[in-house]
């Protein structure tokens, strides 16, 4: 019983980790709290939904499309919008992100109505058992493994490529990065593209596991936010630890108190972490 709950929590926590990775990157590098993050997850989910419904493309295959499309959207938004006001206060960027969120959500409402939809793949209900106690839905395990793959690619980009070096140096010292010749405007655009692309991937995986609708973004932004706060900024380990923590806590909480309390649990954790460890479980990098 407990093993089942923990495994459910870990599988969902992986998805939370992926959601938060993009938000954490954008936040850590540019000091932007991307209120619109959940809306980008929603766009990723709908990309997958339409590719599946209209063209019959398998949702797992459509990951490539949702990531690419959302990457381009993110790159463009940073380059032509946010970069113009990046020197203004954090409050101004927050307002802009808020505006982007309202715009995306309402455009999606107009285009797709408020209907709740589901990506119904043929293999959606299949599962397998481990011993007598634990049943694992195949799609959830698959989604979890993809989170690991995407996370590894993320890690590779950040630590082993020129782009990653530009991103890390810019995050650590903006002026110094410029002085060694890093193109900060371009780095910012690519960072936002990466973060939003990761949101797109999370949206695809979300649409495979749960129902979707144009208004799903708000709560996902909040959950990503909670995960980032739990894990702390500054490394990729933060969102992973935070995501798994939230996933397991939610799974336990909704088993013991009922699933209506699921969202309350994440915010209880948020408040506790802010009181006890304001820099996250890992204590923050600086």
């Amino acid at each position: 019983m407990l093993a089942q709950i923990v495994i459910n929590g870990i599988l969902k926590g992986g998805l939370y980790a992926l959601m938060a990775m993009g938000m954490s990157l954008i936040w850590g590098v540019m000091d932007i709290i991307n209120i619109a993050h959940g809306s980008f997850i929603m766009l990723g989910a709908f990309t997958t939904y339409w590719l599946f419904t209209l063209l019959g493309i398998d949702p797992f295959v459509s990951l490539i499309f949702s990531i690419s499309i959302l990457f381009v959207i993110g790159y463009g938004i940073q380059k032509y919008l946010i970069n113009l006001i990046i020197r203004a206060s954090a409050f101004i960027t927050l307002i802009l992100a808020f505006g982007i969120e309202i715009f995306i959500n309402n455009a999606a409402l107009v285009a797709w109505t408020a209907d709740v939809r589901k990506v119904k793949v043929a293999y959606g209900a299949s599962n397998f058992s481990l011993g007598d106690w634990v049943t694992i839905p195949t799609v959830r395990l698959l989604a979890f493994m993809l989170v690991i793959v995407i996370g590894t690619i993320f890690f590779f980009i950040l630590n082993r490529t020129d782009l990653g070096r530009s991103i890390r140096s810019t995050a650590q010292d903006l002026d110094a990065a410029q002085l060694v010749g890093v193109d900060v405007a371009r780095t910012y655009a690519l960072t936002f593209g990466l973060g939003v692309g990761a949101a797109g991937a999370a949206g695809t995986l979300w649409s495979i596991l749960f129902p979707i609708s144009p208004m799903m973004g708000g709560i996902l932004t909040l959950k990503s936010f909670v995960v980032v706060i739990i894990g702390g900024l500054g490394s990729m380990l933060g969102p992973i630890l935070g995501g798994l923590t939230l996933g397991v806590a939610e799974a336990m909480g909704s088993t013991w108190f009922g699933s209506t309390y699921e969202n309350l649990i994440s915010f209880t954790i948020l408040v506790l972490v802010l009181i006890l460890r304001p820099k996250g479980i890992l204590g923050g990098a600086d």
């Binding site: 890390r168 010292d173 002026d175 110094a176 990065a177 002085l179 060694v180 010749g181 193109d183």
Partner: protein
């Protein structure tokens, strides 16, 4: 003339800091720029390296107008600015910092010879190459900052407040290394509050006060001048 600055006005928003500044650095020279707190020295350096745009005036480097060139191009043209306060990438290792210094040229060139040359100048950095830059001592951080600047093989090395907060023995070591770098053909613009130090280790000097040039001349002559002795050396 390597670097020429003509009639430069610059500042922050409405607050003008530099007023009609003129300055020159010749090939292979060490030039000192001195002045007290808030004189505008660091502001001038930010304008040279492209971090800030001037209101008016012109900056020439090897005959080319670079007044509104972005920092990444300035680095490529051969000017490196080692900023006040070292400004290393604290979570990167010493070697990663050095590799970042060659960021603009790594694609076209093998940087290993550069790295070897820099480690030869600063053996301490080689010992600590895998240590996080944020955990170095003040002197080592300054070495690392200079070394990172050298990685792009500059023609002009600009160093802001090199001596600040460092023990005299370490400053002496650093000065010797600067002279070695200079003898290999790199011009140096040494920006200091420590007037004695800067003028006794340079060929030519400029003195600024509240954003205006108040004196210039060969460093030895400046050191002997009555005004400098009274105003800056406390004699």
């Amino acid at each position: 003339m390597l670097l020429g600055i003509k009639e430069l006005d610059a500042g922050y928003g409405d607050v003008q800091v530099l007023w009609g500044l003129n300055l020159k650095v010749e090939e292979k020279q060490i030039v000192a720029l001195v002045g007290s707190n808030g004189a505008g020295k660091s502001t001038l350096l930010k304008v040279i390296s492209g971090l800030m745009r001037p209101y008016r005036g012109q900056i020439l480097f090897r005959g080319e107008d670079i007044t509104r060139t972005p920092p990444k191009e300035i680095v490529r043209k051969g000017i490196v600015h080692v900023p006040e306060g070292r400004r290393l990438f604290p979570q990167m290792t010493v070697e990663e910092n050095l590799v970042m210094g060659a960021f603009r040229r790594r694609k076209d060139k093998d940087i290993r010879p550069e790295l070897a040359r820099v480690y030869e100048l600063f053996p301490r950095l080689k010992e600590r190459r895998l240590q996080k830059a944020g955990s170095l001592s003040g002197g080592e951080q300054q070495m690392c900052a200079i070394a990172r600047g050298l990685m792009s093989d500059p023609r002009l090395l600009i160093i802001d407040e090199m001596s600040l907060g460092l023990a005299p023995v370490i400053v002496d070591d650093l000065v010797e290394i600067l002279k070695e770098i200079n003898s290999r053909g790199t011009a140096i613009l040494l920006v200091e509050q420590d007037v004695q130090l800067a003028l006794s280790n340079s060929h030519y000097g400029y003195v600024v006060a509240t954003g205006r040039l108040v004196m210039e001349g060969p460093s030895e002559e400046l050191l002997q001048s009555k005004e400098i002795k009274e105003a800056y050396l406390g004699m």
